[in-house]
């Protein structure tokens, strides 16, 4: 087997804008989560399953990153939630400047929790700090248990891993213990909650995680 290695691009400018976003968001008492996953792992379904459990206590807004369509944004808007749609026009990730534009438009004083749904992609989103407080990664069990070792940066950068679609475990070859072990090898601080947006299992544990996170941050 032969090999070549290609150097990695660094995006220094993004870091500055992300820090500015973070200052603005924290200054307004907004707790911000950046949701990342491969395409079709269930980010929008997770938000649809999650938001109704939070709206009693928190004012929620969503930034929806999408390549071409506003389908996801429409699913969220149907919940009566303020949605800012970023159509990236083919760019495969959100960056801090895209989110910065959204911050000028959203009424931040009336938001407690901001979810940013990133573009479906296991690679580039992990390289771009958006100014969030925490990164949450979904991994559908249909994608295979080799993903931590193959896409390590995504696991390194996330605070919480949500293995999703666990209702499909009887039908796929996915060793949850192996995936958990390899993910923790990469990032020993990673928290892990198994969920199924379809059956609702694990959604309470995930919303409890959000509540604990908000309390720790002195948020809403």
């Amino acid at each position: 087997m032969h090999e070549i290695h290609i150097g990695e691009d660094l995006r220094e400018r993004n870091i500055e804008i992300a820090e500015e976003n973070r200052k603005i968001l924290r200054g307004n008492g907004v707790v911000t989560f950046n949701l990342m996953s491969a395409p079709g792992a269930g980010k929008t379904s997770l938000l649809v399953a999650t938001i109704p459990h939070l709206t009693d206590k928190h004012r929620i807004a969503v930034i929806e990153g999408d390549l071409q369509t506003s389908r996801d944004a429409e699913r969220i808007a149907a919940l009566g939630i303020e949605v800012f749609q970023i159509e990236t026009g083919g760019v495969c990730h959100l960056d801090a400047s895209m989110v910065h534009s959204a911050l000028h438009t959203l009424d931040l004083e009336s938001i407690d929790i901001l979810f940013i749904e990133n573009v479906g992609n296991l690679v580039c989103p992990a390289e771009f700090d958006l100014g969030e407080d925490a990164r949450v990664m979904l991994l559908s069990v249909t994608e295979g248990d080799d993903k931590p070792k193959k896409y390590p940066l995504m696991f390194t950068e996330s605070g919480l891993l949500l293995p999703n679609k666990v209702d499909l475990l009887p039908h796929v070859e996915f060793d949850l213990e192996k995936a958990r072990h390899e993910a923790l090898d990469i990032n020993p601080k990673l928290e892990i909650e198994e969920i199924s947006c379809k059956t609702g299992s694990g959604i309470e544990a995930w919303t409890d995680w959000i509540e604990r996170f908000c309390e720790t941050r002195g948020g809403s």
Copy 2:
């Protein structure tokens, strides 16, 4: 709902190198397929299921694109096939220059069919011509039937769409007819073969498609 649009980068230089790759490959009688999909849709499993059906009549080689690991390349090498591993070091797609480096090392005169397994990503790989004869796209039915409208370029650029993991259809909400219809709306010339690398269903139709393709190109 508010919206912003971000401009798309164009990568002109890639086109020239891709044309050079194409000239080299065709000049050596190599028929080349570029396999693209989201992470975990089954590209490597497809190659493992496919190659043994082709080795009687054709000499096969594989270029494996991967972010960090050589796991996929090892699975292919275990079949006794020449594999060139491109570790992109975090870059989320293969480009023509990466493939060009591989062409200097592979013994092209002893290859009839070259499979290039792209990095798992539904976005950027579609923007980079590698010099292939055809692009083949896998779509796991676990990813959702909204993917054609959400990732249109991938469907526009592919000659063949392989909906994979159809054994899971009873357990997921995926409307195959809707996905087929929306994919053909985007690309009316797209051919579609449903497969399951797990059960083997559709693999014969796919290898027949390869054989027909090679005959039409005057290949092996």
